[in-house]
């Protein structure tokens, strides 16, 4: 309720200030030419009136809890010591009385008095804060209104504010990266106080022990089984996605009629828009059992949840990624090269294999790197379909585990956040982040270089 009133107050103040600015500058414009149009004078005043009000309210929001606690502390009898549960319950009783909700059971006289006092105190304080904000806003408005003059560079002032807001918004991306790096690095360092980095990076056994009594690291945290699992699944995914994706791109750019391409391309790209949890469930329920049945038919023992299942489905997911990236890259190959080859008598497929693909190769390699980084960071498919068996082995028909699966299991379990069992997620996350970052930087560098070659 009060927040609606305050919002209304701010809006009214803003509107009045704008109106004042516009009319005042219109009046001024009779005397001499204005530097800025009246709207800018209006916006200038509106900013000057609302921003101080909002600042006062912001300070209130931050401090109101503390002020309330301070008041309650003064009201409570001295025999209730701060920090005890009695203290907390007495304080919350006072708050409930103050809010008018009341409390169950007997209410002591001092409680009623203190509760009503608290309500009065907070109401008065709240009203005076709002009044103070409004006064500050109006005062700023009046002062700045008096300073309005034809030569005031109102537009420049307003534009500076806009530009500051824009800069602030673009810094958010940087802050995100800083946040990611800082949080990953600090938690990883905490993890390394339990487990030595050498054991983590080069250990071949993944078996985090769960101790209920202490946060001591019991068990081993060697990430190599996870690395092998991740690489194996990504490799299978690329074996599926690369031929299908690349050949689709070639067929769509070189053979298909434009009308056919306009129909087929969106259909294939549907695969890219499907949430990965859907792929994961599809792999778990449909592809896994089908593969196991197929394996039985040809006399192979294939697990329903295995690196193969997850890899194949992930490959399907990546097909549109490869095909649309290669599509762009193949189109960038200059037409003259293609025409030259065809003019010399090469067939279309020879032109593609010997001229276009070699020319587009750097770009395609870049696309492959990007796809690999996607595959390594993919989570839901592997969580559902890879079997989560962190054992070092190289058989794709067996269940495996990956970085992402282990991150999810580590942080969705019951372990305390500060325990090595949870912190290891950040060490794995940092490793994952660094690997994908290197792949991306490499890929972008290759693609950019390739673009420059033909521009």
């Amino acid at each position: 309720m009060t927040s609606v009133l305050i919002a209304a107050l701010a809006l009214i103040l803003m509107g009045v200030a704008y109106q004042q600015g516009v009319s005042r500058s219109r009046a001024l414009s009779g005397a001499s030419r204005l530097h800025s149009r009246p709207q800018y004078h209006g916006a200038f005043l509106a900013l000057w009136a609302t921003v101080p009000l909002l600042l006062v309210l912001l300070i209130w929001v931050v401090t109101s809890g503390m002020i309330q606690d301070w008041y309650i502390a003064r009201q409570l009898p001295a025999d209730i010591l701060p920090g005890t549960t009695d203290y907390a319950s007495a304080a919350s009783r006072l708050r409930n009385i103050a809010s008018g909700f009341g409390v169950a059971g007997e209410v002591a006289a001092w409680e009623t008095e203190a509760g009503e006092g608290l309500a009065r105190f907070m109401t008065i304080l709240r009203l005076s804060i709002v009044a103070l904000g409004a006064l500050v806003g109006i005062a700023c408005l009046l002062v700045m209104r008096a300073r309005l003059s034809p030569r005031l560079r109102a537009r420049n002032h307003v534009e500076t504010v806009i530009k500051t807001v824009l800069i602030f918004c673009s810094v958010v991306a940087i802050l995100t990266t800083i946040g990611i790096v800082l949080s990953l690095v600090t938690e990883t360092i905490r993890f390394f106080t339990y487990v030595s980095p050498v054991d983590f990076f080069f250990g071949t056994v993944w078996n985090p022990g769960y101790s209920t009594t202490s946060n001591e690291a019991s068990g081993s945290y060697g990430m190599l089984p996870l690395l092998v699992g991740t690489i194996m699944i990504s490799a299978i995914a690329m074996l599926v996605a690369l031929p299908v994706g690349l050949m689709s791109a070639i067929w769509l750019t070189q053979y298909a009629s434009p009308r056919l391409r306009n129909v087929i391309k969106p259909v294939i790209e549907v695969l890219a828009g499907i949430p990965t949890i859907v792929y994961g469930f599809f792999a778990l329920v449909t592809v896994g059992p089908a593969l196991a049945g197929f394996g039985e038919m040809i006399g192979l023992d294939i697990n329903a949840t295995s690196a193969l299942t997850a890899g194949i489905v992930m490959g399907i997911m990546i097909i549109p990624f490869i095909s649309s990236l290669s599509d762009d890259i193949i189109r960038q190959v200059p037409r003259a090269m293609r025409d030259g080859s065809l003019g010399l008598g090469a067939t279309k497929s020879e032109t593609i294999r010997m001229v276009i693909v070699p020319a587009a190769l750097p770009g395609i390699v870049g696309a492959i790197l990007l796809a690999v980084s996607r595959a390594i960071g993919e989570t839901m498919i592997v969580v559902l379909a890879a079997g989560n068996a962190p054992i070092l082995r190289f058989d794709p028909t067996e269940p495996v585990s990956t970085f992402t699966v282990t991150i999810v299991t580590a942080l969705t379990g019951d372990a305390d956040f500060a325990s090595p069992q949870s912190l290891v997620a950040f060490a794995l996350g940092l490793t994952l982040f660094v690997i994908t970052l290197m792949l991306n930087i490499g890929a972008l560098a290759i693609v950019r270089k390739y673009r420059e070659q033909y521009e």
């Binding site: 169950a104 689709s248 053979y255 859907v278 279309k348 982040f433």
Partner: protein, 457 residues
């Protein structure tokens, strides 16, 4: 002389044959290559078809569930609760609430199962079945959520006690599986989930038309439930996802567009701007789970925001969607012809006026499409949400974005892990259909809006 001519002619024929051979070989290779390409395209399209076919055939049946048409008697002997407490004058709000809670507790303690069992027996008698049914079996047919439906009816209108109502009672998960024929009828009794009288009763009632299929609206209106799986629904997940998308739209779009405008139109060429550029490109390719780690470490562990709250999920998804919006907006801005800018500047507009009055309006279709696609992507994202505790079981519709909540993709994850695989596999596919339908609507909206706005512009 003639010999040489002959050999020349021979050589010519030989060469011609050679060329012909190699030509046909090359043409065959050409055909093979072309077929390989066509095969790849067909394979990719087949994947799409198999995926959608599989989801639809498995998920659509879940939208129709079996119900029993039964007369429910709100027996006053079973529902023996005192009158509803009324707010007395001078009573504090807290005391009244306590009294009301006590009354509701009495109501919750009522043996609702007896009423349900009586209804099933009544339905059986109506079907003309001569079979006796024991209370346990009768109870196992009906979804246990029906108890709460009856309780809520009394809560809403206590005058209903003593009356009879015609109601559609949902069959339990096992009963539904049996009626749908998903359970083998050949298994011996000790391996069946339902007792023999219960199975017979369902068959009888179905023959009599009292048990029949109806569209399961409760999938959309109920919240998730563990104790009564047949009436579990997506309402909580809908609202949770809605709040998250609201946060994403309110934060990612304005911040993303502003930052794209700054980078494209205002930013001076200096190392700092380059850093932001490289940074955004890399952020776009960071795996989504890393954003989840950021959320767990910063929002949950440092800022102490509530676990599994849509607002935290929304913040994490915002950071994840931001690069997409920025990159798309920048390319939309870049596509605006320079002549437009020069014309605006030429007649005396300031740079800010040029951007906001002339350039930006032209890019609205692009920005809008990018935002909708970003939101669609965020809607389906699961992994980061698991790390901020959204995999918790929540049986409430969140009232505010700060409350615990489920989300659509996470609900899929939770349902696929349910032990009652027989029933929940279908249900999970149904939830997937709902999620995909929402995403298709969003994408169609984006395409439609782009077409419409671009034609106008």
């Amino acid at each position: 002389m003639t010999e040489i001519l002959e050999t020349e002619a021979e050589a010519n024929t030989r060469r011609r044959a050679q060329v012909r051979n190699s030509l046909s070989r090359r043409n065959r290779a050409e055909q093979r290559f072309k077929l390989l390409g066509l095969g790849s395209v067909l394979a990719a399209m087949a994947f799409v078809a198999v995926l959608f076919g599989n989801i639809l055939t498995n998920g659509l049946p879940a939208f129709w569930q079996y119900n029993v048409d039964a007369e429910v008697y709100f027996d006053p002997e079973v529902i023996n609760v005192p009158d509803v407490p009324v707010h007395q004058a001078g009573q504090s709000e807290a005391d009244f609430q306590a009294e009301m809670l006590g009354w509701q507790r009495r109501l919750a303690m009522v043996n609702w199962n007896r009423i349900l069992v009586a209804s099933v027996e009544g339905a059986l008698a109506e079907a003309g079945a001569d079979t006796e049914i024991d209370a346990r079996s009768a109870q196992s047919i009906i979804d246990s959520g029906a108890r709460f439906v009856l309780r809520d009816m009394v809560l809403a209108d206590p005058a209903i006690i003593g009356e009879r109502r015609e109601m559609q009672l949902l069959l339990s998960a096992d009963g539904d599986n049996w009626a749908k024929g998903k359970l083998s009828r050949d298994l011996p009794d000790d391996r069946q989930q339902l007792s023999r009288p219960a199975r017979d009763a369902i068959d009888r009632l179905e023959e009599a038309g009292i048990v029949h299929r109806a569209f399961a609206w409760h999938i959309f209106t109920n919240v998730d439930s563990r104790s009564s799986p047949a009436s579990a629904g997506l309402a909580g997940a809908f609202v949770g996802s809605f709040y998250m998308m609201l946060v994403v739209i309110l934060l990612a779009v304005p911040i993303g567009v502003s930052s794209a405008i700054y980078l494209e139109e205002f930013a001076p060429k200096n190392p700092f701007t380059d850093l932001i550029e490289v940074n955004i490109n890399n952020l776009a390719a960071v795996p989504s789970i890393v954003f989840g780690l950021l959320g767990a470490a910063v929002f949950i562990n440092i800022f102490h925001l509530p676990l599994s709250a849509p607002v935290v999920g929304g913040l994490v998804l915002t950071l994840m969607t931001l690069p997409t919006v920025i990159i798309a907006t920048r390319s939309a801005l870049r596509a605006v012809p320079p002549s437009l800018r020069q014309a605006a500047l030429g007649i005396g507009a300031s740079k800010t006026q040029m951007v906001f009055h002339h350039v930006l309006p032209v890019t609205y279709p692009g920005i809008l499409t990018a935002s909708i696609l970003g939101v669609a992507q965020a809607l389906g994202e699961t992994a980061p949400l698991l790390l901020i505790g959204m995999n918790a079981f929540v049986a409430n519709v969140p009232a505010t974005p700060m409350d615990q909540s489920a989300a659509l993709p996470v609900q899929i994850y939770l349902w696929q892990g349910n032990e009652n695989r027989n029933f929940f596999e279908e249900r999970t596919f149904a939830a997937i259909i709902v999620l995909l339908a929402l995403m298709i609507v969003l994408n169609a909206l984006a395409i439609w809006l782009r077409g419409r706005l671009e034609r106008k512009a």
